[in-house]
Amino acid sequence: MAETATPAAAPGTIQEPEEKSKSGQDSGYLVICWNDPVNFMDYVTHVFQTVFGWPRQKAEFHMLQVHEQGKSVLTRESMEKAEHYVHQLQKYTLHATMERDA
């Protein structure tokens, strides 16, 4: 990920509860964002805030996970909702996929 700013939060400074699907059934799909060297850190943070409605601190936490660990599991959802989120993230040209939770 291209570096553009010093984030306010570092990975590990906040505990992220495992995301639970709001839709109940069939919540076995992970929405994952993968690292790349082209998207700016500020941009990725902004997209996470916009797509998921997250506060900045949570968005930065996941952005840093992507940057430092190569990927971040953003949410766990039903297939339909996971597809929706992947589409939203890809509209912003982020490298995002959905994977079946093992």
């Binding site: 291209a2 553009t4 799909y29 790349d36 060297p37 082209v38 998207n39 700016f40 500020d42 941009y43 902004h46 916009t50 297939m79 597809e83 992947v86 589409h87 890809q90 509209k91 912003y92 040209t93 996929t97 959905m98 994977e99 079946r100």
Partner: protein, 156 residues
């Protein structure tokens, strides 16, 4: 590009003549990410994966078409860039900024793909006739993106 005024429904920027020319030239490159570049999943474990991938490709293609049409209207609207003595004033809504961020990032990422998706930033001595236009597009798109993000966050 400099933010002059931000209200709830509008952002007003000043652009020098050269900046406006750069922006128009840059936006004319959209779309740059190849069709069907994005994958829905890295694994084959998604039920109906091929059909879902096709639906994703269709949705992204439709989005590109809509964005291209919107961009054409945006660039040809005479009220969009208001000329004054110092250059131009560009008036856009926060929703349009969000859309422009998507367009600019398509140009940035698409240019990066055309450069062969390099892992490291290209050094100045590796520029040549073949790659300099793509490097230019990637860097200028990034510069406009950062200015729009700063304006959205009130950091200017």
């Amino acid at each position: 590009m400099k933010l002059i005024r931000a209200t709830k429904g509008n952002l007003l920027f000043h652009l020098a003549e050269r900046e406006r020319t750069l922006l128009v030239e840059l936006l004319s490159l959209y779309p740059r990410v190849p069709a069907a570049h994005q994958r829905l999943s890295n694994s084959a474990k998604i039920p109906g994966g091929e059909e879902s991938q096709r639906l994703l490709d269709d949705a992204l293609a439709q989005q590109r078409t809509e964005s291209r049409n919107k961009l054409r209207a945006f660039m040809t609207d005479p009220r969009r860039f208001e000329r004054n003595e110092a250059g131009h004033r560009l008036s856009i809504s926060p929703a349009e900024v969000e859309w422009l961020l998507q367009v600019l990032n398509d140009i940035r990422v698409g240019s990066w793909i055309l450069l062969g998706s390099p892992a490291q930033r290209l050094e100045i001595d590796s520029l040549n006739e073949q790659n300099s236009a793509d490097v230019w597009a990637m860097e200028i798109a990034g510069s406009f993106q950062m200015q729009l993000l700063e304006a959205l966050e009130g950091r200017t």
